[in-house]
């Protein structure tokens, strides 16, 4: 109990005094995860729409595979990305290992199937409502995709936030490909792992609370900006 209390006190002290290291680490966490999230959304949302309206041979298989990949173990993704980016690996010349870019790549791989699957699920329900209308209006392929994505934007927001949650709390993959280098690739989760290993539980907990607060703040901020749950809107 003492550790938890110390952690809370220290967390608020760190936030109140705007501890420069804490700010840097938190911003880095956000930078990596938001980049990964943006890339994932660019891939996942159109992919989900295509999977919804297009009929092709391996469609069912692709959907099942994406569903299965939602449970991709981050540490395995980390290991694979590490092997590929290592100097003795195929993309070693790019010198990307132990950079934020490597961390972004790993997180993108982890969350893209998740966002695609959740987005596909909600688009499918919307498509069953819109199907007859859009067909009878003789809309083009692109118009259908755009309509679905726009009208399902709230649900897609939830899909993205789920992806964000999974990425920002992830530690196994980014520890391997980022290396937890101070002032370069140290983010909130790897810093927590480090402080725990030093036996400094109070600081580790403080960082943990900051991580939770960051996630909550970002979620509330997104909902506030997109005005969900407002009266007269859906």
């Amino acid at each position: 109990m003492n550790d938890i209390w110390d952690g809370i006190v220290q967390a608020f002290t760190l936030i109140y005094t705007l501890d420069p290291d804490l700010i840097k680490i938190s911003l880095r966490s956000l930078q990596v995860t938001l980049s990964a999230l943006a890339i994932s959304c660019i891939i996942a949302l159109p992919l989900a729409a295509i999977l919804t309206i297009q009929r092709f041979k391996f469609r069912r298989f692709t959907i099942a595979l994406l569903n299965a990949l939602m449970g991709l173990p981050p540490v395995v993704v980390g290991l694979l990305v590490y092997i590929v980016l290592s100097r003795s690996g195929p993309f070693g010349v790019l010198d990307l290992l132990y950079t934020k870019t490597a961390m972004i790549i790993a997180q993108t791989i982890i969350i893209t199937p998740l966002i695609t699957s959740i987005a596909h699920q909600s688009l499918r329900e919307l498509w069953s409502d819109y199907h007859d209308l859009l067909i009878s209006m003789n809309t083009s392929h692109n118009q259908r995709i755009k309509t679905l994505l726009w009208d399902a934007r709230r649900a897609l927001l939830t899909a993205s936030l789920a992806g964000f949650g999974r990425a920002i709390g992830e530690v196994g993959a980014i520890m391997i490909v980022g290396g937890n280098i101070d002032n370069a690739t140290r983010v909130l989760t790897t810093a927590i792992a480090l402080e725990t290993s030093k036996g400094d539980f109070a600081l580790a907990l403080a960082l943990g609370f900051v991580l939770i607060l960051t996630t909550i703040a970002l979620n509330i901020g997104t909902h506030w900006l997109s005005k969900t749950e407002n009266e007269g809107r859906w």
Partner: protein, 271 residues
Amino acid sequence: MIRLTKLISVLAFLLCTNMSFADSIKLAVTTSFNNSGLSDVLLPKIESDIGVNIKLLVVGTGQALRLGASGDVDAILVHSQKAEEKFVNDGHGSHRREIMYNDFVIIGPRADPANVRSAESIKEAFELIKDLSVPFISRGDESGTHKMEMSLWRSFDFRPNHFGDWYKSVGSGMGASLNISASIGAYILSDRASWLNFKNKSDLDILFEGDKLLFNQYSFIPINPNRHKHVQSALTKKLESWLTSKTAETMINSYKIDGKALFKFNATYNE
């Protein structure tokens, strides 16, 4: 369309901030070097003295050697003489330069159920632990400390892989292993520096120290540029001469926690 352009420019901005420093090298170091806190003192001074920004990868000696062999770091600072010599002989490192030393100690619960305090040699201490089968934590991660522990057991004709449940191989770094032994009151072999800087000491204490066999030498090995053309050998040379300079000697010898010195400089100066 404007939206998409905006999004792409934001992305480009985010990715651009990944550009690395011009004069920076990657150095794989052992957890014990980093957990001791010495790196936090040396690194800023090195950067201001020779303008080299060092990116530390804190791993076990085994992984550091692996990273060095695949060319993912520019140099390594580790503590496992036999493995280091093999590494250099295999052509992965250009040479091995001794920098400093400290020693290993046996940590255990203050109550000391195996009476390790009474031991006169590390051999006797290990025998006491084994005979009473009191819980013992092994790093189990091919780190320098783990290799040291294994070679000690073997040199006393014990075979750790045949030990019973009391011998727990945890596969974690020094700090994480100390956390585990603190929570179950187990014995553990640790380097002195990590122990002194460890915050969650709880009921643990040093129970045995001072045997010659527990000597712990740290050495610096630059990665062989003939093997990996991209390594920053000019910068690792600068770093090596700083690490073996008088400035480094003063800083390393005067680094203390609770009034106790953690490392002793023993490099030979530059000719």
